[in-house]
Symmetry: C2
Subunit: 397 residues, 2 copies
């Protein structure tokens, strides 16, 4: 049985995909074909997100509240949110609001899952949000031993043009360095007055000084666009960032009288699977992940070909029962990143679940060519964005 | 019996005063006259400092290690230190070192005890220290609700000229605003990595987030002059600041390999008594204290006349036994601030303990005129210093 997770999103054994009504029925039917196969990990994942929503007191994500939801919203990559109605209202009433995200310039790569965040930022930017992108050069120095000047260099040479290449409008995005933004560091001391030791421990598990500094710096980043002009804001994040959102919302309420702050809203996206199908594609682990950029086409092809799929034990079984796109990493990447066209994605899905394509065939027809195209498009856009960045004034002059 | 507290400082029932050898004998003799009177508060004070030295693992202060020790050093206002030998060595070898202090711009007054800190900073400045004075406008906003711009205004209008009027050389002192110094806020994140939750709790008693932010900001201030050019530094402070020194020294050691930091040295001064003789003259409490400036001479006179002294119950008793300068607030102020000339101070002491002067007579002859002169001199120097400050570039241009 599909689970409903907010209006308009049907969960098909972990595959969250908003389809035309007609398609939906077919998919449910297809889905039922493979229902004897129960993948514990796949089911856990579904349960996890449902549990997260329940336990974190967040709202399930309802993309009907937004005009023209983007691919990530429609395809269920965004699964939860917090107070998104205030953002929907700003969009509807054309009232000012902001959107903020951050870059950790610890390596000259970004992980594929970050594309979701960037697409969400782009969405809100297109809907009129004032857009802030912070470069966490201070955090990067403190936690990854990247000297501040090197962090800045990497951000200017890679991250900022990459974010632009993936969709942000360079003219409408305010990029800033943590190491230069005194508004943020000054806000840190104000916010820290408003949280007790026990509250902090309850939210973060411990009160390690480095955690305190890091958490309040993030809070300063999240709230500082409201200094001078209080307004709602939306922070697109992975679920691991939920504690920051929760504490920022509490502190914003406590500073409401003095500073007029609105509790920031959040839109949450799911983790991206690693190539071997394991849960989170972490930036820190070096093996088995697809990163942006992937410059070497052969290397990319190897990765896709080795990726964990939803194939059956034997060819015959797969032809008979169909594959399982709900646990297939290649399908996940295509759905969340590489294949923008809904019809093409539907075909990929159908040809899998009906047993028409075996995994190798699917990779040759969909996985590899669309991944290749994604990175070729990126490379072109990146070269153009580098020229934009060269003309921009970012940070100290 | 006088207690020895470091070479050259004899404690006479709480009176710490370095005298010519000849005078000393007389004083001990005089002291013995009044030994039947035991003031518990006075004795506790002596025990307190001895206990502090023992329990905090600090060194007792030995002014013989420094060339031409200043009035505060000679007269026992400085009672303890940490690692001061490295500073003495820098002075002797003409090697670079620094001295740092801070201003909390929460009101346009400074408390009399702060003069001791300023005189110590001036001493080390005269001995060649690079001198840093931070204005804690961030802390002042966070903890006292003084907006940053107002904190800056107060510092420029009052504190900075006051520090210059009390002896700092405007040409040799680097004044900076916490709200503008990114080196400090960037160092905060690095230092916080080096302290565990339990260590922090052991030193500060709790791990309240505001305490964490404040402590590491102070640490950033204390260590940042060593960025780029590691060198010993000395921080003149009241004993309440000892935890900051202790943690800064630990963290400096832990960052030694990466940044070359020297653990900072400290020179500790005693609390200043309030006018009623109670322990600490706090900036926060509004009653019964002498502050800098005291503009109203009549008001100042009233304060001195109402001050707690070491007088006896009856005139007759006082003429016979003499007064008790060791518990007299007026003597303390004269010794630590108002009377620079040793001979004059000795006369004041003698005329008290021999019963020659009753307290009213002593106040008329010493307390009032020297207090008045101190503040008149300050007022003149302050007007001059304001002109210096107008020409200085402090903070952002």
């Amino acid at each position: 049985m599909p689970q409903t997770l907010g209006k308009g999103i049907k969960r098909l054994k972990g595959v969250d995909y908003v389809m035309e009504e007609k398609k939906k029925e077919e998919f449910i039917e297809n889905d039922s074909k493979s229902k004897v196969i129960v993948d514990p990990w796949g089911k856990d994942l579904v349960q996890d997100y449902a549990r997260l929503i329940r336990e974190f007191g967040m709202d399930s994500f309802d993309n009907n509240i937004f005009p023209e939801p983007n691919l990530q919203m429609r395809r269920g990559v965004n699964f939860g949110g917090q107070d998104l109605e205030q953002i929907a209202k700003c969009i509807k009433d054309k009232k000012p609001f902001y959107c903020l995200t951050g870059i950790m310039p610890s390596s000259e790569k970004i992980h594929l899952g970050t594309e979701t965040v960037i697409q969400n930022v782009k969405y809100f930017q297109d809907q009129g949000a004032k857009t802030y992108v912070l470069i966490a050069d201070v955090e990067s120095q403190a936690t990854r031993q990247v000297p501040i000047e090197e962090g800045k260099r990497r951000a200017l040479a890679f991250h900022i043009p990459a974010y632009i290449a993936l969709g942000l409008d360079p003219k409408k995005t305010h990029f800033y360095f943590q190491s230069e933004n005194k508004e943020v560091s000054n806000l840190v001391a104000i916010c820290a007055q408003k949280v007790t030791e026990n509250e902090f421990r309850a939210i973060y598990g411990s009160v390690h000084p480095a955690k305190v500094i890091s958490a309040f710096t993030q809070m300063g980043d999240i709230l500082h666009p409201q200094l001078g002009e209080p307004m709602p804001g939306v922070i697109p994040v992975g679920i691991d960032q939920a504690p920051h959102i929760r504490m920022s919302r509490d502190v914003a309420r406590r500073l409401r009288e003095e500073y007029g702050f609105f509790p920031p809203s959040a839109i949450y996206n799911k983790y991206t699977s690693a190539l071997d199908g394991s849960f989170k594609m972490s930036k820190s682990e070096g093996i088995g992940k697809i990163e942006i950029p992937e410059k070497d086409t052969k290397d990319l092809e190897k990765k896709i070909n080795k990726a964990f799929t939803g194939g059956r034990v034997t060819k015959e079984e797969q032809r008979a029962k169909g594959g399982q796109p709900d646990i297939c990493v290649v399908f996940e990447y295509c759905k969340n990143h590489f294949i923008k066209d809904d019809k093409t994605l539907s075909k990929m899905y159908e040809e899998c679940v009906t047993g028409k394509n075996l995994c190798g065939e699917c990779k040759a027809k969909y996985g590899n060519p669309y991944a290749k195209k994604f990175f070729e498009d990126f490379a072109k856009a990146f070269e153009k964005a580098k020229k934009d960045v060269a003309k921009m004034k970012i940070g100290k002059e």
